[in-house]
Subunit: 392 residues, 2 copies
């Protein structure tokens, strides 16, 4: 039996349930003889490099359960994509502290970091086990059916569109809502769950998986307004033109070289200006909202399936590691959609590192401005029951 301390960290954009994974892992680790200490890394690998750890053996279960219900990374998160030198420093800290288990909760970049460190350990003949615990509201990890964190963000988006569509129905006009998702449109596609009756919005849904053509967009909006007297649009922050350039952004780039898309209203305001121009003189009210960080952090509305699965991927990852079964990333296999049932399995770190997935063609309509029923069948059980809309 590989005996030693474990380090656990959280990485990337937080979610409403990432602390469920943390608490699931910590409570499981307390049951494992192989794990002789539980160190929580502050701000992921940034904290590991500084040996900035929290002892996670002492908190009461009651305290941890409150943490589990709290959105965003309780240990702190990090956006740093480490180079070779940084990974070496992490490995050095692990050796120094007799750390034999490393659990990293995050997306594809975190899986890659975990993979690099596990390779270093192998090359150094250091007995070591690395497990990646999946998390991302973008739902863009490979292999797994879906990603913990996604369904709660999707639930926020669905609820937001339900309420906003009633608001639009009361005052009419064109309403554009910008949803998170740089390369994958899963979260934007979840807006379709808001529809309960003929004529309900969102009436148009644009994902980054399709080229966005501003002229076609204006025509689409005009058709919907002609039919319904109003139009609610769901648009991904990541929509790009035929050359792959974002339709609008703040111009800022992060350390990954990505253009800043979130935390700015630029895209909504840009699309709003185009639609205002298209309807000039026709007295059509045009408004845009950008849902922003609330999508991943709003408390009290998490999906029950998501909360449970986020907890269980943490538990499963620790049990797997402690059993001596080796490195990997925890994935979810859907057994049934109605009633919903799933199970967990391990997939190689390399199979989820780096590359991501996008919304499948079968989930996008031919015109590229809506989703299909197959998409709704996929996403509905994850998001859970939504309130009924009353009408007169």
């Amino acid at each position: 039996m590989l005996k030693g301390k474990m380090v656990i960290g959280q990485s990337g954009g937080p979610t409403a349930v990432i602390n469920q994974s943390l608490v699931g892992a910590v409570l499981a680790a307390r049951q494992e003889k192989a794990i002789t200490g539980i160190l929580g890394a502050r701000h992921g690998i940034a904290g590991i490099m500084k040996e900035d750890f929290v002892d996670l053996t002492t908190q009461s279960v009651e305290q941890l359960e409150v943490v589990a219900q709290t959105p965003a990374a309780a240990l702190g998160s990090v956006r740093l994509k480490p180079g070779r030198a940084e990974c070496e420093r992490v490995f050095e800290v692990f050796r120094k502290n007799d750390v034999r288990y490393f659990f990293y909760i995050g997306g594809n970049d975190s899986a890659e970091t975990a993979h690099i460190i596990s390779e270093m350990a192998r090359e150094a003949n250091y007995d070591f086990c690395t497990v990646h615990i999946p998390k991302t509201i973008d739902n863009d990890l490979r292999v797994t059916d879906h990603c913990p964190g996604f369904a709660s963000a999707a639930r926020f988006v669905a609820l937001a569109f339900m309420g906003d569509d009633r608001d639009s129905n009361a005052l009419k006009g064109v309403k554009i809502n910008v949803v998170m998702g740089r390369h994958a449109g899963f979260l934007t596609a979840a807006a379709a769950l808001a529809r309960q009756a003929e004529g309900d919005g969102p009436h148009l849904i644009y994902l980054p998986e399709r080229v966005f053509d501003i002229e076609q967009f204006k025509q689409d909006v005009r058709s919907v307004v002609a039919k319904h007297g109003r139009c609610v649009v769901a648009v991904s922050e990541g929509i790009s033109d035929a050359d792959g350039n974002p339709i609008a952004s703040s111009g800022e780039r992060d350390s990954h070289g990505n253009v800043q898309l979130s935390g700015t209203g630029a895209l909504g305001d840009c699309l709003s200006a185009h639609v205002k121009e298209a309807f000039k003189g026709e007295g059509v009210r045009v408004r845009a909202d950008t849902f922003g960080y609330l999508q991943r952090s709003f408390p009290t509305i998490v999906s029950p399936v998501d909360a449970r699965e986020a907890r269980e991927v943490g538990t499963f990852g620790v049990k797997h590691a402690a059993s001596g079964a080796g490195n990997g990333s925890v994935a979810i296999r859907r057994l049934s959609s109605a009633p919903y049932a799933s199970e967990y399995f391990m997939t190689p770190l390399a199979s989820v590192a780096r590359e991501t997935t996008a919304v499948a063609d079968a989930y996008i309509n031919a015109a590229g401005n809506d989703v299909t029923d197959a998409w709704l069948d996929y996403v509905r059980p994850l998001v859970g029951d939504l309130p009924e809309i009353g009408r007169l």
Copy 2:
């Protein structure tokens, strides 16, 4: 006993509980012999002028209860501020249809409309009763302790800041959140409810009741970042400079001559650009979100006190009118904050029409960048219990 039909309408920006007031009024009216028919006006006075009514005597209580739980105006709303000619047309429709009771659910503009029509009836010696039922997320009506609709929007804002503050704590940086409220900062001030421990955000709160100075703002942010390593800011969409000009807007004006402040990310992006400039080269992450229409329409998170009071102002208004007690606007008197208790009373239409209130000086700190404990004592019982934040 004044016998005849009633018309009920909804006006202005919808809220999460305005349908509670509608359902409260309709169910009460069904019990009153004085009321011989219940006509719901589609889109407020716009619908009345077109005689576009829904018969509200036939729906089941079950259906109405689902409507009551649904955000936004189920009858449709309207932003039209009627002139003399439009009010005359409304009065003509009322006479023609033997309408003797008019209930208008809305803010100060709706109270003014109701007041003008009641004056017309008086001048024409037409026996008629007009009751204004208060509604506004802005909480800016005179006389009443607070306005139905406000507490649910305030609850959204408080929850949003709770989650977003944890997100900011996980990734650091400066986060600016723009909250609705053109002239009154009540909703922005509610962000303070998100704080549960020393160091929690929002760290700065700017209301439209104080002149906004961009240089002072940048200094304030710098001080908070120096102290806490991050800064979460709540700012009202209505903040203006010393000359009364909005800090940023889309430039569009509505039919009231108001500059468009909602449905655009302009202010957030403007403030974000200023802060980025101030921290240039220091690697400080700066993001802005504009909460937008979700504040008034997001389902499932209404304040229980708000839902109950919104229902009861509708019921009270109808009972008052049917009792023959005359015109007026329903107002709320707070009897106690702990435990919370309130009662309803009537105030003259003219006392709430046109003019509005703003956040009292006692609720704003001396520096003009935060609220006081007295404000928290006022707002907390309205918003209700909030979830506990877990920490490690």
